[in-house]
């Protein structure tokens, strides 16, 4: 894979996918032609913030505040790298 995601990048859900909350599954899912990826809670919380306007640093700060945690930067970056490899996000 390419270079790791930068803290000032503004990732957004790629046009090939649609992100939506599914009540029946109590989960965020990514929809694409004839398929679906069910995201776990942390992946869902990260992905829903990938709207092209927030920086990675802002996403990390929001998550740390929302979940009363610290030191999430590495985990978020790791997930975003994976998400980019899967083409779930761009930018």
């Amino acid at each position: 894979m390419s270079t790791p995601v930068a803290m000032d990048a503004c990732p957004r859900v790629s046009r090939r996918f649609r992100l939506q909350w599914e009540e029946a599954q109590q989960a965020w899912v990514l929809l694409y032609p004839e398929g679906m990826v069910k995201l776990n809670q942390s992946a869902g919380e990260i992905m829903r913030r990938c709207d092209g306007s927030r920086t990675v640093a802002a996403i990390v700060a929001e998550l740390e505040q929302a979940f009363g945690a610290s030191g999430l930067a590495d985990d978020v970056a790791k997930f975003l790298d994976l998400a980019r490899g899967q083409q779930w996000i761009e930018g």
Partner: protein, 375 residues
């Protein structure tokens, strides 16, 4: 999760396949519609379908496929797509492209259609006409252009079989030329019309090996430009597929006359009543009907599968294939080399190697043949 990997309460019917009509202008010899389709009852009305969409969405369905027959023959397709989109479905249209005019494409786009899967019988005009019995080749090129122009992902599907598998390089090249981002080269599955024509359609092992080799060469050549999926016919495997990802696990098919099925061929199974969406709500159908509960999980298995260490992997394969080839839907899928009836599959493969298909003509799908076969 229980020990079998199947949760006690089944999950929601994530996938709704709406088979809007059995009518189709084409005559594919591998058609997956039931052989007796012409004797099927009246089609559901627009209001029936709108209700099915709402009930399925409320029960947790999220992917919706509109198929057929040829779904473009329903002139309420745009209305149904719009409602599915409004409800939050991801909407897929599975079409041969016949009837997809620029006007209807624009209307479907406006209705919120997410994706079109264009099926393509072959890349050569002659063979295409031979296989589908109509002149559709030029049309598919026009439709492919329409799909691109409307900004849909370009997904092509081509059913592969003995008569076109040697032209796989041309099929791939054509898909690339048309700008396909995904190409599914799905070997014919031997149900319905394809089962009638199995001797003519089942490829030899050498044909499959060559086709896989050629496909790999193209994957290397084009890389990310086109993603090519090659689905081997299960007859050539030693273990069956996990059919429908498990009976009554994620798939719900509604046939043109409203019958609700765990897969589009399940109606053939003996001694099993399937509910109709005119009589019963989707939620009750999914969770409570006998038809959907009968082969859920692994409680129904007979000895071969029950004592098998791999039963979670494939859940015994396909119930319809077990019925068609072993005469018992609760037996192991005969594709499995542990099945007592596996010789039936080996025999079909031997006939393919010997070229038995040359001795009999293909049976093309059409209403007259269907009525004759329904007897």
């Amino acid at each position: 999760m229980s020990a079998t990997g199947i949760s006690a309460q089944p999950g929601p019917p994530l996938w709704l396949l709406a088979e809007l009509t059995y009518r189709c202008p084409l005559h594919c010899a591998f058609c997956y519609n039931p052989v007796d389709f012409a004797t099927s009852g009246p089609e559901l009305s627009t209001d029936d379908w709108l209700r099915v969409l709402r009930e399925a969405r409320a029960a947790g369905s999220v992917q919706c496929g509109f198929s057929g027959g040829e779904p473009m023959l329903r002139d309420d397709l745009e209305v149904l797509v719009a409602e599915a989109h409004r409800l939050g479905f991801y909407t897929n249209l599975l079409t041969s492209g016949v009837g997809l005019t620029p006007e209807r494409a624009a209307a479907l786009k406006a209705a919120g259609l997410d994706h079109i899967q264009l099926s393509f019988q072959d890349s050569t005009r002659e063979l295409n006409d031979f296989l589908s019995h109509t002149r559709t080749f030029d049309l598919k090129q026009r439709v492919a252009t329409l799909i691109k122009e409307n900004g849909w992902p370009m997904v092509m599907n081509c059913v592969i079989h003995r008569l076109n598998i040697d032209y796989i390089d041309r099929i791939i090249e054509m898909a690339v030329e048309l700008g396909a981002e995904y190409l599914e080269l799905a070997n014919s599955q031997y149900y319905s019309w394809a089962l009638l024509n199995r001797d003519q359609l089942l490829p030899t092992r050498a044909q499959i090996e060559r086709a896989e080799r050629v496909t790999n060469e193209y994957r290397e050549k084009y890389g990310d430009r086109i993603r090519i999926f090659f689905v081997v016919p299960d007859y050539h495997e030693k273990r069956p597929k996990k059919c429908m990802n498990g009976w009554g696990n994620v798939f719900l098919t509604v046939t043109p006359d409203g019958t609700a099925l765990p897969c589009h061929t399940a109606k053939m199974l003996p001694g099993l009543a399937f509910p109709n969406v005119r009589d019963l709500g989707v939620r009750e159908i999914w969770y409570e009907s006998e038809g959907f509960n009968r082969y859920r999980g692994d409680g129904w298995m007979k000895e071969t599968c029950r004592s098998c260490p791999d039963k979670e992997k494939d859940l015994g394969g396909c119930r319809c294939q077990a019925y068609m080839l072993a005469g018992d839907p609760a037996e192991a899928d005969p594709v499995c080399d542990r099945s007592p009836a596996h010789h039936v599959v080996l025999d079909a493969l031997a006939r393919a190697e010997a070229g038995k298909g040359r001795e009999v003509p293909l049976v093309f799908r059409d209403p007259a043949a269907s009525r004759r076969l329904a007897g």
